[in-house]
């Protein structure tokens, strides 16, 4: 999928979900994990990823840890307690949206259809 606009609205949820499954991750790792999970179908642009990470950090949903790797520093992101609470609500919000979208795109689908 090449349309990044479709990903934009769900980027924060994707990040939170990935961090729920992995204790801590850094920017490059997140892009690679998304690529791997979607067999390269979804590519998160770095220009959107890093501002989203910083925003989540400012909202108190993510905490950061700096680690020295070789001759550089690496910033790891992990979920805060608030972030852990938010994952469930953000996930159900996104799932509900996808369900409704599916109903619009395929009206023959019965209500209660789950993806």
């Amino acid at each position: 999928m090449s349309n990044n606009n479709l990903i934009k609205g769900s980027l924060q949820t994707i990040i939170l979900k990935l961090l729920e499954e992995n204790e801590k991750m850094y920017g490059y790792e997140i892009t690679q994990r998304v690529k791997e999970l979607t067999a390269g179908e979804i590519k998160i642009t770095e220009g959107a990823l890093y501002p989203a990470l910083h925003k989540l950090e400012a909202e108190g949903l993510l905490s950061t840890e700096i680690q020295q790797v070789d001759n550089r520093v690496r910033k790891y992101y992990s979920l805060t307690k608030d972030g852990q609470k938010q994952v469930t609500s953000k996930m159900s919000e996104l799932q509900g949206f996808v369900e409704n979208l599916q109903r619009i795109l395929t009206p023959d689908l019965k209500p209660g259809f789950n993806i």
Binding site: Y50, P51, H54, N71
Partner: protein, 219 residues
């Protein structure tokens, strides 16, 4: 995973420096992204990978990253300031220090003539401001060459700058407009006292936030 050559490091640094990245934090994050990406491709593909990364981290993208980071950190600083102002969370010691400061200021207002109070207030404001500038001196650049600085330091310095400008307007404009006569007015002295107290509380909260923020320096 392979080790990058000195030449590759130099290429990355040259590229990042040409982007005039404003904040160290953005510089370091992009630098790590470049390095990790290159470590995972064969040395033969290095040039094409760097070219692709240069497109990914185009000037507009980096500027946006700088802007977004500044917004996020500014929000964090504000939240930390508000948290600091909840004096009841500082325990007995914090409350006592606050009370001593408040009474010292109240006594000086009562004892010092209104015309001389402005000097006392200005000294207090300059002391707290000077303290913040000293603590966050890493954010200041007096050379013509571009230097990436810590975003948190800039967020604090900007707030001090705003406070100083505001205080100058509050003090100087009425004095200029009244030809100095307003200095003998008691209402003006009370107004000055209130503005100074607020300014000092704001500055102290900034000093507290500034002392807790990590100092970033480029490796």
């Amino acid at each position: 995973m392979r080790q990058l050559s000195e030449q590759e490091f130099a290429l990355i640094h040259a590229r990042l420096k040409s982007l005039n990245i404003r904040y160290i934090e953005v510089y370091e994050e992009i630098f790590d992204h470049y390095c990790t990406t290159l470590e995972n491709v064969p040395a033969l593909d290095s040039q094409t990978t760097i070219a692709k990364l240069n497109e990914t981290f185009a000037c507009s993208v980096v500027k946006n990253m700088d802007k977004e980071l500044e917004k996020s950190v500014s929000k964090q600083v504000w939240i930390a300031q508000l948290e600091f102002l909840k004096f009841w969370k500082h325990g007995v010691k914090g409350i006592l220090i606050g009370l001593v400061g408040f009474f010292a200021l109240a006594i000086s207002i009562l004892l010092i003539p209104a015309s001389e109070l402005i000097l006392v207030f200005l000294v207090l404001i300059f002391c707290t401001t000077g303290g913040i500038y000293f603590m966050k001196r890493d954010a200041m650049n007096f050379s013509f060459q571009h230097k990436s600085v810590s975003v948190s330091s800039i967020a604090v310095i900007k707030r001090v700058g705003l406070l100083n400008s505001l205080m100058c307007w509050i003090w100087i404009m009425p004095i200029v407009l009244s030809g100095g006569n307003i200095l003998s007015n008691n209402f003006f002295a009370i107004g000055m006292a209130v503005a100074t107290i607020l300014s000092i509380i704001y500055s102290i909260s900034l000093i507290a936030v500034a002392s807790r923020l990590p100092k970033s320096t480029l490796l």
